[in-house]
Structures are given as structure tokens and as C-alpha cells.
């Protein structure tokens, strides 16, 4: 049996530096056995943000990659605050918010970019929680995706 951190290592992906909060909030907070994670944007490994409205400035494939990058950014916050991805037992809840044109439709496809990453690391059962995937009128600095999540501690 491999651990979440070992499964992540096998993906050979690079984490961005965990972003400093853009306002007055904590990136992550543990209350009893639940881990609350703030809304994260798609931070590249060079520190830049993936920006642009889905359905307008980028297509659903590019937006899905942005959601995957949000997942990696959340990983960086978990590792920085809890030491390793092994600190998480399961995904409880994901709110996936896509910065989208008014007629955009495939929000679930986009947010799968993050959800598939979570499932690869924590497994098809524990790595999959409840979720909403919805379209926002705007997001900070025009980032393409913002995702907040609740996890359960290991």
C-alpha cells in the first residue's frame, strides 16, 4: 500500500510555492478533525496566475488544466501547513468556481481537473467527496478557477 505522498511523487508533478494570502484570511484551518481550506487560485510554479474567462478567453481544456493547477496549489498549502499530503484522510467537500462566460456549460468537466488529481492521490473512494461546480461572474485578478475545500484529517 502506497501513501498519498508516495502516489503524488509517482505523478512527477511540481508544486508551486504556497501562495501568501491576498487578504485577511488563513490559507488553512483545522477545527477538530476537519481541515478547512480557503479559496485557492491556479498558481504556476513560476508564481504567476492562470487568468482568463472560460468560454471567452480560454476553452474548456485550458480551463481544466487551470483547475488541475488549483489542485496543485492546494497541495502546496497542505504540505506547508500540515507537513505532507498524508495528513489528509479524505476529501469531504469541494466548491469549484469557474470564471466563465454567461453561456458556458461544462463546469463539471473543468473542475474534474482538480478532482481527478485528488482521486489519484487519496484514491477513488477517499479522494472523492461531494462537490458543486458553478460559474462565477468574476474572480479575483481574473483567475480562471477558484476552489475551496474541506478535508478530514488522517
Amino acid at each position: 500500500m502506497s501513501t498519498p505522498q508516495e502516489r503524488f511523487a509517482q505523478l512527477q508533478l511540481v508544486l508551486p510555492t504556497p501562495p501568501a494570502p491576498k487578504g485577511l484570511y488563513k490559507p488553512l484551518l483545522v477545527v477538530d478533525k476537519l481541515v478547512y481550506v480557503s479559496g485557492h487560485g491556479p498558481v504556476r510554479t513560476d508564481g504567476s496566475l492562470i487568468i482568463g474567462k472560460a468560454g471567452l478567453e480560454m476553452d474548456k481544456e485550458e480551463a481544466k488544466l487551470a483547475a488541475r493547477q488549483v489542485g496543485l496549489t492546494i497541495f502546496s498549502t497542505i504540505v506547508a501547513n500540515l507537513g505532507s499530503l498524508n495528513a489528509i484522510r479524505r476529501v469531504v467537500k469541494v466548491l469549484g468556481m469557474v470564471n466563465a462566460a454567461p453561456d458556458f456549460g461544462p463546469h463539471p468537466y473543468v473542475i474534474n481537473g482538480c478532482s481527478e488529481l485528488f482521486a489519484q492521490v487519496w484514491g477513488q473512494d477517499l479522494g472523492v467527496g461531494v462537490r458543486s461546480a458553478v460559474g462565477m461572474g468574476s474572480l479575483p485578478e481574473n483567475i480562471t478557477v477558484e476552489i475551496e475545500a474541506i478535508f478530514e484529517l488522517a
Copy 2:
């Protein structure tokens, strides 16, 4: 004293088939005494979706009926996963998201379509939780309403 399931039966409403997830998520997840329910859309009993933007392609009365249909769709997920509406003790939290024109205003009126149904089944105290009712720029496949919820187990 009637049960929630008995009170639902008295309404003589028909549940849709619980929808399969449109992405990588669970429709419902129990963590300790809380029941987390994914964002649900308005699924008709024939399996089709109620679509269209409130304030643009449909008025507030039609949108309220869509929110009621979301409530029925959530019921179908609860029954499929927990056996009966009696498995729920109380409504804790509802996030009601309306796919609306930028100048739409009566979001609370629309989401009442779901909240009134919950109150009929679980009662005016236990069937009423906290809530936000807000307007999204877009929703998956242009559905009119998406609602996620947290309940407490009986």
C-alpha cells in the same frame, strides 16, 4: 406524529431518478452526524433538466418551480443513499445558486421553492436551516438552479 417520509407521501409528488454524477464526485457523503449533499440541478421525472436563465429565459415563478424540482432531486439522492427521508433529522445549511441575468433580484423568492419543500417534510423548525440565495454568472448545461446542502442525521 407523522414521519418525514409520511409527510412527503402526503404531498403526492413524484421523485426523479437520482441523477448519476456529471463529474468526479459523490452525490452524498456522511461524516459523523452530518450529511453533505453535492450541488444538484433540477431533474424532471423524465430525466430532462430544467434550463434557462432567470430574468432572461424564464420568470421568477418558473425559476421557483425549478428550485422545487432541485429539492425533489435532492430527496431522490437522500432516499437512494440513506434509504428514506427519515434518515435526516434536520436541515443545517443550504446554498441556493440561481443562474440569473445580471439585473435579477428575487433570488430568495426563487430558492424558497426548495426551502418550502424541506419545511413541509421536516417541519418549520427542523426543516429550516441557514441559507444563502445568490446569482451565478452561469451553471452547468444552463440549468436554472443548483443547490448544495448540509443536513444532520436522525
Copy 3:
């Protein structure tokens, strides 16, 4: 050591009357040690609402003041339901929703209007939780900001 209620008194701010729900929901619900607070709008002390889209009908400074007014409105609901701001031990989670033009960017700056108030009352550690700050396509009655929150009981 001053209490949250004493620190609020030192700010010499006036609370609005706690608003009656605009639909079928409770303003606040306690489940075990968590306090769930419904989405609140910016209610002035005269009972009127601060309305208008950020980036269109008002700038980011005015929108930040609206977010601060939402914080005061949440305070009024806490005091009305739990007796005092001392009933809250810590801020767990804030969802800050800005009614914004599609090209609006400084959502975190706006929501800081509420978060700074929370930090003044409950302190830089306990008064700061996780947060998402995002842009909605529309909000009820065209209010500028709606915020829902989860707190931990003292």
C-alpha cells in the same frame, strides 16, 4: 484582557437592527460547537440596503465599506441570537460574495472590509479564518455584497 464585546464597544460603531429573513431560512443555527450564519447583506442603521454592482455602480472603496456593513449586520444577528459577541470563540470560514462587473478584480480587497472588522473584535488569530472572495453575477435586490460565515462557539 478585553472581551470581544468590549473591543467592539471601543470601535464606537452602531449596529443595524438584525434583519428579518427575506425567505424561509434561519439567520443563525448552532449545531454542536459550530455557529452557521446565513448569507447577510449590507443593512444600514436606518434599515436600508447598500446596493449597486462593484466596478460598475460603485468603486472598490465603496464596496469595501459595504462588506464592512455586512460584518456589522452579522454582528447584529449574533447579538440577537446568542446574546453577545463573546459567545463566539473564533471565525472558522467566510464566503464573501461580491456583486461585481464581469471584469472586476479586487474581490479580496472588498471582503477585507468584513474580515478586518472580525479581526478587530476576535483578534488577529481567532478573528481570522479561511475565506473565499468571489464575484457573483447578481445578488438579491442588487445588494453589493453578501457574506455567509461559520464560527466556533466560545
